[in-house]
Assembly symmetry: C2
C-alpha cells in the first residue's frame, strides 16, 4: 500500500511538472499553428492548384499522355514555389488503356432490352467483339466461392454485393467489399465463368459506374471484368429476383494492356538546418483513374502536400530536418511510384524518419492515423490540445497510406501517418465520373492543407 | 501531506468504483446506440422525408401557401409514423412577399452597364419603380458607422464586408458579419442613404445572392435593402477600387409586407411511462426562406427530429419522460413559433426539462453544444465514450437554438442542446438558391438523425 501511495504521488507530481512545461510551449505553438491555418484559409493556393490540375490536365492514368502532363505540371508548380530542390525520380509504370468501346445491355426472355452504364475494371482484358452470356447472380463473394462449377460454367457472373451502409467509417465498408473487384475475375474464372461484372463500390445510388484495379491469377483464364453503376446493379438485381427467369447479358470492351512505360515521381524539399540527413516526407499520388478528374483521389493529396510545405516556407520557417514533398506516380494500378521511391532512397542512404500521406480526399479534417510505434502515437497525441480549436480529434493507430507503405520495409522504426478527413462522401466520388473539382469544397480542402502543414511543422519541431 | 495522500487515494478508489459501474451500463448502452445508428443508416426515412419536403413542397416562407402545405405535410408524416399524439398549435406569423420584380445593374461614367444578381432582404420595403443612386462603398460596418452624413445622403450605400475566412467555425464568421444585414438599413438610413445593398453572407464565391431578416427602426425612414451575390459584390468592389470614379446603381423590387397570418407549429409525442409530465422536446423549423428548397435550413432539422423519434419507436423503446417532436413555424423572420410555443406550454403547465434543436444543416455530425448548467454539460460529456465510435467529439457549452431559446425564460433550470454538425459547407447554401435537396448527402443526414436519436434516448434514460 505504501508503495502505491508513493507511486501515486510521484505520478501526480510528475504530471504537473510536465504539464507546466507543455503549457509554455503550448502558448507559443498555438500562435504558430494559428498563423499556419490563417495562411491556408486567407492566402491559400490549394484550391487554385487543384483547379489547375483538374481542369488544365484532368484524368491522368499511368502511362497516358495526361500523366506525363501531370509530371511536368508538378515539377513546374514546385519550381514556382521556389523550394530548395525540385527533381524527377524515374519510375517504370504499367500501361493499360480503356479503349473507345464500352457498352452493355441485358435482354429478358420477352425480348425487352435494358442498356446499362458499364466500365471496364482497370487491367481487364477486352471482350474481343460483343460477348454474350447468361447472367448468374451472387449476393456476395462468399456465395460465389460456395457455388458449383456446373451452375457457373460458360456464364457471366454478376456479383451484386453492396457496401455495408451501417459501418461508420466508409473505408471499412470499402475494405470489406473490395475483394469482389480485386479478386472477382479470379473467383469466377476458377468456376469457368466467361466474364465477371460487379456492382460498383459506392455508398450512393447513381448512374456512374466506378473502376479500379483487379487481379488475374497465373495459369487461370483471364476473363473480362467490369462494373455496373449502383443504379444499374440494383435494377438488374431486382429484375433477377422478381423474374427468376434467364437474362442474357451483352457487352463489348476494347481495353488493352500495353508494355510498361517510363514515368516519374516528382520531388521537392526544404533542406534541414540541423539534421539535413533526417527526412520527413509528405505526399500524395499524381496519377488518377481515367474517369472524372481525380479531384479527391488524389488531386487533394497533391495540393495538400505542396501547400503544407509552401505555407512553412511562406512563414519563413527553417526546418531542423529535411522536409520533402513527394508526388508519387502510379498509386492506382501498381504502386510503382511508392515501391521505387522506397528502394531508391534506401539505396542512396537517405534516412527517412517519418512519412505523411494524404489520400482520403479533400474533406473536412478529423485527424491522423498512425502506423508506427507507441512513441509515434504518443507524440501525435501530445498535439491534441493544440489541434482542438481546429476541430481535429482523431489520433489513433491506423493506416498510413499506399504510397508511403513500402518505406516501412526499408526503414526500421519509421512512423507512417495518414491524414484522416471526414469519410462520408468519399465513396460518392471514388473512381467515378463524379470525382471532379466542383465536388471539392474550398474551405474543407484548405483546412486539410492547414492541418497537414501544422502537423509537419510540429513533427519537425518535436520528433 | 497525509491528508493529500488520503484524498488522492480516495479519489483514485472512487474513480475505479464509478468507472466499473459505468462500464457495465456502457456495454448495454453501446448495444442500443449501435441499433439506433444501424436503423438510421440501413432503414432510415430521413432522406426520403427530406426529398419529399424539398421536392413535393419546396421553399416555404411563413404566410405563403407553401408554408401551409408544409404544415399539412408535417402533420400527415407524423400521423403516418403513428406516434401517441399529433396536433397543431396555432401561431400568428408575419407575412412578407418578395413580389415578381428583382433586377439591378450599375453603370460607369463611360456608359458601360453591368447586370447584377440581387435579392431583397426579408422584410425590405419595395423601391416603388426603378430606384437610381450613386453608390458609396464601405469596407465594413465600422467604416459606415464612422461616415459623415454629407458623404452618404441621397446615395445608395454598398457594404462590401466579407465573412472572415480564417475563422474555423463558420457560424462565428456569420455572427461577426450578421450586423451588415440585420442593421445595415438602420445604419444607412441614419446617414440619409436612399437604399442599402450588401455583399451576401457566404464563404464562397458564386452567383446566388442570399437573403435573410433585416430590421428597421421606429421613427427612421425605411429604405430598400438587398444583397448582391458574392461574385457581383467582388466585381463591384474591384471596379470601385480601380476606377475611383462614380458608379450609378439602378434597381427595382416590388416586395411587400402584408398583415400577419394564422399558421401552426406541428407537434407529436411519445408519452412517458414514468414521468409523463416531464417533457423533452426535439425540433427544427418548418418554414424556410423563399429561395432554394430549405434543404439544410431547416429541412434537415425537421427530418432529423422526426427520425430521432421514429427510430426509438421502431426499436420499441418506452420512454420514461414524454418525448416530443416540434416542427416550429416562422424561425426565419420572427421566431413566432418558438415564442408562442414557450408561452403556451408554460401557460398549460407542461413541464419542460430539456430541449434539443437541429438547425445547422444536414452535415456530418461533430457533437452537441449545451446552453444550460454545468450538470447538463457533465451529463452530455458522460456520453463521450459511447459516441466515440460514431466520431462525435464536440461536447461543449454553446448555443442551443433559436426555436428552443424562449423556453429558457419560462423554465428555470432547463437545459438547451444544439446539434453541431460540420459547419464548413453551410454558408455555401444558407438562404440562397443552392440550398436544395441535391446538396444534402444521404449518409451525413442519416448520421445526424442517428446521433440525435441516440442523444434523445440517453437523455431520457439518464436525466
Amino acid at each position: 500500500m505504501q508503495f502505491k501511495i508513493v507511486l501515486t504521488l510521484f505520478i501526480t507530481l510528475s504530471f504537473f511538472t510536465v504539464h507546466n512545461a507543455q503549457e509554455n510551449n503550448h502558448a507559443e505553438d498555438s500562435v504558430m499553428l494559428r498563423k499556419i491555418y490563417s495562411e491556408a484559409l486567407e492566402n491559400g493556393h490549394a484550391y487554385e492548384d487543384l483547379r489547375s490540375l483538374c481542369k488544365d490536365i484532368g484524368a491522368r492514368l499511368s502511362g497516358s499522355v495526361s500523366a506525363e502532363m501531370a509530371v511536368q505540371w508538378g515539377y513546374h508548380r514546385l519550381k514556382k514555389y521556389d523550394f530548395d530542390t525540385v527533381y524527377f525520380q524515374e519510375v517504370m509504370v504499367p500501361h493499360w488503356e480503356r479503349g473507345t468501346k464500352e457498352n452493355g445491355y441485358y435482354q429478358s426472355k420477352d425480348g425487352k432490352i435494358t442498356k446499362v452504364n458499364i466500365l471496364a475494371l482497370g487491367g481487364s482484358v477486352p471482350t474481343n467483339g460483343i460477348m454474350e452470356g447468361e447472367i448468374v447472380m451472387f449476393k456476395n463473394r462468399d456465395a460465389l466461392l460456395k457455388a458449383n462449377k456446373k451452375d457457373v460454367e460458360g456464364k457471366i457472373v454478376f456479383i451484386s454485393q453492396p457496401m455495408d451502409q451501417k459501418m461508420i467509417t466508409t473505408f471499412s465498408a470499402y475494405g470489406a467489399c473490395y475483394p469482389i473487384r480485386g479478386l472477382g475475375a479470379i473467383d469466377a474464372a476458377k468456376l469457368g465463368a466467361k466474364a465477371v461484372i460487379i456492382r460498383s463500390l459506392s455508398l450512393s445510388e447513381h448512374d456512374h459506374p466506378h473502376t479500379g484495379t483487379m487481379q488475374y491469377e497465373e495459369g487461370l483464364k483471364k476473363i473480362p471484368a467490369a462494373a455496373l453503376s449502383t443504379n444499374d446493379a440494383t435494377a438488374l438485381e431486382n429484375l433477377l429476383n422478381e423474374s427468376k427467369g434467364k437474362l442474357t447479358f451483352y457487352f463489348e470492351m476494347d481495353c488493352k494492356v500495353l508494355p510498361d512505360k517510363k514515368s516519374h515521381n516528382v520531388i521537392a524539399e526544404l533542406k534541414g538546418s540541423e539534421n539535413p540527413n533526417n527526412i520527413i516526407t509528405i505526399g500524395g499520388h499524381l496519377d488518377s483513374w481515367d474517369i472524372g478528374e481525380g479531384a479527391h483521389d488524389d488531386g487533394a493529396g497533391i495540393v495538400h502536400s505542396m501547400e503544407a510545405l509552401r505555407i512553412l516556407k511562406e512563414l519563413n520557417y527553417k526546418p531542423k530536418n529535411t522536409l520533402r514533398v513527394v508526388f508519387f506516380m502510379n498509386e492506382e494500378n501498381g504502386n510503382m511510384g511508392g515501391k521505387t521511391y522506397a528502394k531508391k532512397v534506401k539505396a542512396s542512404g537517405e534516412h527517412h524518419i517519418l512519412a505523411i500521406e494524404s489520400d482520403r480526399g479533400g474533406f473536412s479534417p478529423r485527424g491522423f492515423s498512425v502506423d508506427g510505434k507507441q512513441k509515434h502515437l504518443d507524440l501525435i497525441r501530445s498535439f491534441e490540445k493544440l489541434f482542438k480549436p481546429y476541430l481535429i480529434h482523431h489520433f489513433e493507430f491506423g493506416y498510413g497510406g499506399v504510397d508511403i507503405g513500402p518505406l516501412k520495409n526499408e526503414f526500421e522504426g519509421i512512423g507512417l501517418i495518414g491524414f484522416v478527413p471526414d469519410s462520408q462522401r468519399y465513396f460518392d466520388f471514388h473512381h467515378n465520373a463524379n470525382d471532379v473539382f466542383e465536388n471539392v469544397n474550398k474551405r474543407e480542402l484548405e483546412l486539410g492543407a492547414g492541418s497537414l502543414s501544422g502537423l509537419l511543422w510540429l513533427l519537425d519541431r518535436y520528433y
